[in-house]
Amino acid sequence: MSPVAPFLIFFAGALLAALTRGRLRAAIMLATPLVGAVNLYALPDDAVMSFALLGRDVILVESDRLARLFGWLFHLATLICVIYSLHMRDRIQHVSVLAYAACALGAAFAGDLLALFLFWEGLALTSVFLILARRTADSLRSAVRYLVIQVLSGMLLLAGIIALFANGNPLDLEPLELVGPGPWLIFLAIGIKCGFPLLHNWITDAYPAATETGGVAMSAFTTKIGILALARLFPGTEILIYIGATMAMFPIFYAVIENDLRRVLAYSMINQLGFMVCGIGLGTELAINGAIAHAFNDVIFKGLLFMSMGAVLFRTGKIGGSELGGLYKSMPKTAVLCIVGAASISAFPLFSGFVSKSMIMVAALEDHHQLVWLALLFASAGVFHHAGIKIPFFAFFAHDSGIRTKEAPRSMLIAMTIAAVVCIFNGVYPWLLYDMLPYPVDYAPYTWAHIVTQCQLLFFSALAFVWLNKRGLYPPELPGINIDAEWVYRRLLPHSARYVRDRLASARLAGGAVRDEFLQAGLGIITRWHGPRGALARDPLGSYALIVLVALFAVVLIFELFLGSR
């Protein structure tokens, strides 16, 4: 049998999972990534599959080293995620995990921008069910916000593609210069997926709102497709170095004071994405290799951390650091597996983060970005602090919350164990991963200097934690939320809209005159920009993008006004 497009198998699996139940569905879900792996193994290195759409060829599959690495990664992540979800009987989640993985594979193997766009939208539409499946009022609101932002990213991508096409550019996935509206629109679209600063809050909003399984699946796919797209389209774009360094820095401050431990992981996700974005911006072979290797490792260790916190949430129904503590007594295996994930993200020697993050840091120094290097080093110490110590400490140790529960279900433990084994394997024997990277690797992670310096950094970060705790300087875990950039669309805009609505209502009472004035003013603004001499009328693309933006903001506002205030 000749190999098929990797995503087809996962869509077929999703369809079959939708039609079956019980053990049969479980078997189908387990078989899907395994059959997929056989197919991927058989897929030739230079496979190309395309179909005709509106007289153009859309290249659905174009296999290269980068696509294959993400292909293997997504098969592994799906297998782990499927096993993790076997304890429950939720058809919606089971089907959407497989369909979501299918879209991620589709995006990874996409051969041109149009195919990428199709799967880009597919990622949003399939994953939103993993938030909705929580079935609470809060998760419904998060899901709608998530969907609006993801669709906005898709619209920006489409607008960018149209702009490129209108200027006669090819639509293949070759590097773009960041000049003109097309590349900038695409850059912004990817920026949303990667969680660039100010565009990042969908991550911290949606991941903690998702189900236990949903958080794991979402941490694996969407943002990594963003990183892959960035690596293909904007390698060596200098602004990314500074965007990446910012992303690595600011979330760690939020992570220290955040109470919801899955939101701590979401901030930590942005911090790790920052390292990858920085590596892509540096653009050297070592840096790109580092970014891609780190993306691989991050899917596994962040998945492991999300799984351990999902298990805690599943067993206790709680996830706030202020409510938890002492769980090592009832969930010792989960605690140990969580610590493996924590050691990996902190880049301890012999754990996976050690062999990939340092590639980016060395590349920054080699490229003479010394301030950026200091920022990344700060972020490395910080990540150990909040993800390496805080997550396991406040969930499993700290003060005893008195909660006594059962160990995580066996399926969850198996999934976490697989992830932990991969973390340690990649840390101990990185060369299998190195062999899959886009460029030949001339980098030795295990030098004495690297081991000693990393141990100094981590041990003294731990010492700082101990010292701060003993002096009573460590901020206690407190219930509450911290305002972030999302304040603009969750507070400012809805409040402004409510204010205008109330004013209009009172104006209506006062008589029609004021309303007419509003209408006149509104028409005046439209004529000024879109009339025969209007700036936006000259360039139809600008109008298109503006309409999409306005329409999406309108959706958010309407939602917040009529649903959000209930």
Binding site: V256, G402, I481
Partner: protein
């Protein structure tokens, strides 16, 4: 969905219920810190950044970074923190 937490009447003592084990763990950390810094005498380090030449640079930087991180974050909390239902 979740099991009701139940507190058994007589529970066995766990690893860190014994204060000695906590102290052993902390002493382990202090010793590890000492060894890591002492290794700077032995291991030849390639210096790319001028600060790297400082003895025990990574130890100092890691400690200071974490203290600064936590102290700044604590101050930020005063500005940023709101009640859980702030957005509702």
């Amino acid at each position: 969905m979740s099991d009701q937490p139940e507190t058994p009447r007589r529970e066995r003592r766990h690893l860190f219920d014994d204060g000695r084990n906590v102290r052993y763990l902390l002493w382990g950390l202090y010793v590890a810190c000492g060894i890591a810094v002492a290794a700077d005498f032995v291991v030849e380090r390639h210096v790319d950044h001028p600060w790297e030449a400082v003895f025990g640079f990574y130890a100092i930087y890691g400690f200071i970074a974490c203290v600064v991180l936590v102290l700044v974050a604590t101050q930020l909390r005063k500005v940023l923190m709101r009640r859980d239902d702030y957005y509702e």
